[in-house]
């Protein structure tokens, strides 16, 4: 047996000093600093250690040194891989950039039976002339674009208005997409965003046959829901609940999901909203703030509460939800779960509305009833309000390539990339965040926006910071880990 070499012969101090890999940091209320790598790995340091790290004065071989090197803050001659590992992880987390467009939203009718004051879409009366419905020839052209996207996953979402008002075209599109997919062989999914007032067994039979998912709106308890979502008969809540249960009967529990919108009336009823979602048998709730588009602007609802007020109520109800989980009933707040995923998981998290560069266009196209194509749902809302800057083309003449390379999309992409965005590039939370160029365009006149005045930024800093705080508590951490790793 030959001699073994001593431990000391393998140490880093025998070789060379360390180099820094990119990271940002943020001062916490405690006086410590949260330091986050480009790839989203994080630690907390006091000022002395942060300075030592930056000044190249960490003691080689100390626990702090080993930890920071393991997490990819530094590399030395023993860990040259750290550069490659960081780039692989960064590439994984930004996978949407090379997957390209997977979500395809078809506005098959702008007509609607509801007249919600917060509607972000400029809906048309149910009896309007059918010029507000998409035609078959427009749908054909849209499907050509859909299957020109290289994405392995294709999700076709039917939107409105109320898409079930044009159910014939819906059927036509589903059948044709299936037919085309025999050739293209993508993972093809469908979802109908509907208020369910018009759901029927005939429609559900069709949904069952093609594995179509249902996404509906449920704003909370009856009074709140019906107040937010007026329709003739004042029975939106009853119709929605009946519809949800009918969908479950036909399609199964997991095929039906619901979204809520925070109206001024909702803000102080978060807890009741959570209770409603629990009572209706949902596995979670998505506490969305209002977006400043469409009717939400006309009615000034979008300005009726500040992001600080929203955050306060959000945190309160999140503790309520966490308590429900601790009592043994799993129930998810989906936005928190998304942020927890971003912080905890090394993998890509595909949520179109929170990406940088923007998921609009890269990940999603919206085909309006009239053949105009937008990079996002918000884009067509702005167009209805007279701002055409998010229109990336027209199905009459444009191919997938024309659309993805359009100047309008390039502008959004260029200005929504955090690492080249003046107020994001130094943010510790950038690896977990997105961009919302549309909102900044509306509120500030450019896609990048000055984040100091951005409610989006305030919300993100608030939510991400709060999730970090929760992660320090073992019981909450376990729940957030389960949300991040169990849900899709």
């Amino acid at each position: 047996m030959s001699k073994f070499r001593e431990e000391s012969e393998f140490r880093a101090e025998n070789t060379s000093p360390y180099s820094l890999l990119p990271f940002n940091f943020l001062k916490l209320n405690s006086g410590k600093y949260r330091v986050v790598t480009l790839a989203g790995d994080y630690t907390e340091l006091d000022l002395v250690d942060l300075r030592a790290l930056v000044d190249g004065e960490l003691v080689a071989g100390s626990d702090l040194y080993l930890d920071l090197r393991s997490k990819g803050f530094i590399f030395d001659s023993l860990s040259k891989n750290n550069i490659a590992l960081t780039s692989i992880k960064l590439r994984t987390k930004m996978a949407h950039v090379f997957h390209l467009t997977s979500l395809h939203m078809f506005v098959i009718s702008l007509r609607c039976d509801h007249s919600c004051p917060y509607c972000q879409v400029s809906r048309q009366n149910i009896d309007s002339n059918d010029v507000f419905d998409m035609t078959e020839s427009t749908a054909d052209k849209a499907l050509d674009v859909v299957f020109s996207s290289p994405s392995k996953y294709i999700k076709i979402e039917f939107q409105g208005g109320e898409p079930l008002l044009n159910f014939d075209l819906l059927k036509y599109i589903v059948r044709r997409a299936h037919k085309l997919n025999e050739n293209y062989k993508r993972n093809l999914d469908f979802v109908i965003a509907t208020n369910l007032a018009m759901i029927s067994e005939e429609i559900l039979e069709f949904c069952k046959q093609f594995g179509i998912n249902i996404s509906t709106s449920l704003d909370g308890p009856k009074a709140l829901h019906n107040g937010n979502r007026p329709r003739p008969g004042k029975n939106s809540y009853e119709k929605t609940i009946k519809g949800i249960n009918l969908c479950r009967d036909y399609l199964g529990r997991e095929k039906v999901s619901a979204l809520m919108t925070t109206s001024p009336n909702s803000l102080l009823q978060f807890r009741e909203i959570v209770d409603e979602y629990l009572a209706q048998g949902f596995e979670g709730v998505f506490l969305r703030p209002l977006s400043p588009y469409g009717y939400a602007v006309k009615t000034k609802w979008a300005e009726s509460y500040s992001i600080e007020e929203w955050l306060e109520e959000y945190k309160k109800v999140l503790y309520y939800i966490l308590d429900i989980n601790m009592s043994g009933h799993p129930f998810i707040e989906f936005y928190t779960a998304l942020v927890a995923k971003r912080i905890l998981k090394p993998s890509y998290t595909g949520y179109v509305d929170l990406q940088h560069p923007t998921g609009a266009g890269f990940s999603a196209f919206l085909y309006n009833y009239d053949g105009k194509v937008y990079s996002s749902d918000e884009g067509r809302m702005l167009a209805e309000m007279g701002d055409k800057s998010l229109c990336i083309g027209d199905l009459k003449q444009d191919s997938f390539l024309d659309l993805i390379c359009s100047d309008q999309l390039k502008a959004q992409v260029g200005e929504s990339f955090g690492y080249t965005s003046s107020s994001c590039e130094q943010c510790a939370y950038l690896p977990y965040c997105g961009s919302e160029p549309t909102r900044h365009h509306v509120l500030q006149g450019d896609f990048m926006g000055n984040k100091i005045y951005s409610p989006f930024c305030k919300r993100q800093m608030g939510v991400i910071g709060h999730v970090f705080e929760l992660l320090e508590n073992d019981s909450y951490r376990r729940i957030l880990e389960a949300w991040a790793y169990d849900s899709t």
Partner: protein
């Protein structure tokens, strides 16, 4: 304990001038044309004709009145040998080695004893002399092994040091055992060469897993344990290349005094950079080979690291990385860890202690390596539920 090496008491087998790999049979009714290449296990007085040789245990050979059949007489401790097993008879007719046991779930085939690591706790210390005959032995075993096996393993030494021969053996395993999973123990450094990883992928083995050890997230500790510079960096590069070809990977962590302090950091490292691995295995130390020589450096009471181990295991399992603990005893670990603890010590070297007879969970417990006589944990005690 089932011995895999045995002395030959008497051999009148034909000399072929080199080691011979042969399969055993107890089928008296085997069609004559097949008998030429098999060795028959004598059990009664019946001596069916036409086999290449006959095997018997201890000195029972006296009982047979057939002195002119080619006979191999082994010590009775080898009498576990049975139909379908494969043995190697040394050229000098002195020793047999069991290469494959049909009934066992733990068939690991040694491809080479050469290694580019020199691990402090190596249970199979590397040798430098030419052992290329092992490649030929392995080919024979793969051709002779019964198709029904669930799993076989390739081990070393470092199998990838064989270069293209290793790839070829994986190919033979796929060709001759198309229903059998193949587990390879390798340090993975060779796969840092993308082309080599590609060659392995191109075999398209239907159920291959490469078990690769990482002993620490800190390169100085890993490199010290394996006694080789740049080891961790190269292994990680190999892992990433294997993942590019979607080749399933198991990370193996041997628990001892040098590795025990950074288990959670290591778990975090795996989830951070290697989330594609199929499974992670934490393994108690087997007190053989170099581990015995380095006992003072390596030995630590397993219950002293049980809480760090539990933390690391839970960290990985929450993250949907399938995680197991091997070779440790239930009585030394908290109940939270029990669901992850597997019974997996190879049957031929698996033993229990007298205390274990009193234990309520003996049946669920992995027990000990027979080598634990060199170091028995202090706190072994019967568990009462």
């Amino acid at each position: 304990m089932i011995p895999l090496n045995g002395k030959i008491l008497l051999s009148t087998l034909p000399k072929i001038g080199k080691d011979k790999v042969i399969r055993l049979s107890n089928n008296q009714n085997m069609p004559l044309p097949l008998r030429k290449s098999e060795v028959f296990i004598l059990s009664g007085r019946e001596v069916p004709s036409g086999f290449w040789g006959y095997i018997t245990f201890n000195d029972q050979s006296q009982e047979y009145d057939a002195p002119d059949v080619p006979l191999l007489c082994l010590n009775s401790e080898m009498s576990h040998l049975t139909d379908g097993d494969i043995i190697r008879v040394s050229n000098d007719s002195k020793r047999v080695r069991v290469l494959y046991r049909k009934q066992s779930q733990h068939n690991f085939i040694l491809l080479t004893e050469q290694c580019n690591h020199y691990c402090l706790m190596c249970s199979q210390p590397p040798k430098t002399q030419d052992d290329s005959y092992l490649v030929e032995n392995t080919k024979d075993v793969l051709r002779l092994a019964s198709r029904g096996s669930d799993e076989i393993g390739f081990t070393g030494g470092e199998p990838t040091l064989l270069g293209d021969d290793f790839i070829n053996l994986v190919r033979l395993a796929e060709s001759y055992l198309p229903e059998t999973a193949l587990h390879v123990l390798s340090n993975g450094r060779a796969f840092g060469d993308l082309e080599y990883a590609r060659k392995l992928a191109e075999v398209r083995h239907h159920d291959l897993m490469i078990g690769i050890p990482i002993y620490s997230d800190a390169p100085e500790i890993h490199n010290y344990v394996v006694q080789s510079d740049n080891a961790l960096d190269e292994t990680v590069r190999g892992l990433i290349n294997l993942s590019r070809f979607s080749i399933p990977i198991e990370i193996r962590i041997v628990l001892h005094n040098v590795t025990k302090d950074r288990l959670l950091n290591l778990a975090q490292f795996v989830s951070r950079y290697l989330p594609f691995v199929s499974q992670v295995a934490f393994m108690g130390l087997e007190m053989v080979g170099f581990a015995r020589a380095n006992k003072d450096l390596l030995w630590v009471e397993p219950d002293s690291y049980s809480s760090q181990l539990t933390e690391a295991v839970e960290f990985l399992s929450v993250r949907n990385i399938s995680t197991s603990v091997y070779n440790l005893q239930l009585c030394l670990m908290p109940k939270a860890l029990w669901p992850f603890m597997k019974k997996a010590i190879s049957d031929w070297k698996n033993v229990y202690e007298p205390e274990c007879n009193e234990c309520d969970v003996r049946d669920k417990c992995g027990g000990f390596f027979s080598s634990h006589i060199y170091k028995k944990p202090i706190n072994i005690r019967p568990v009462k539920l």
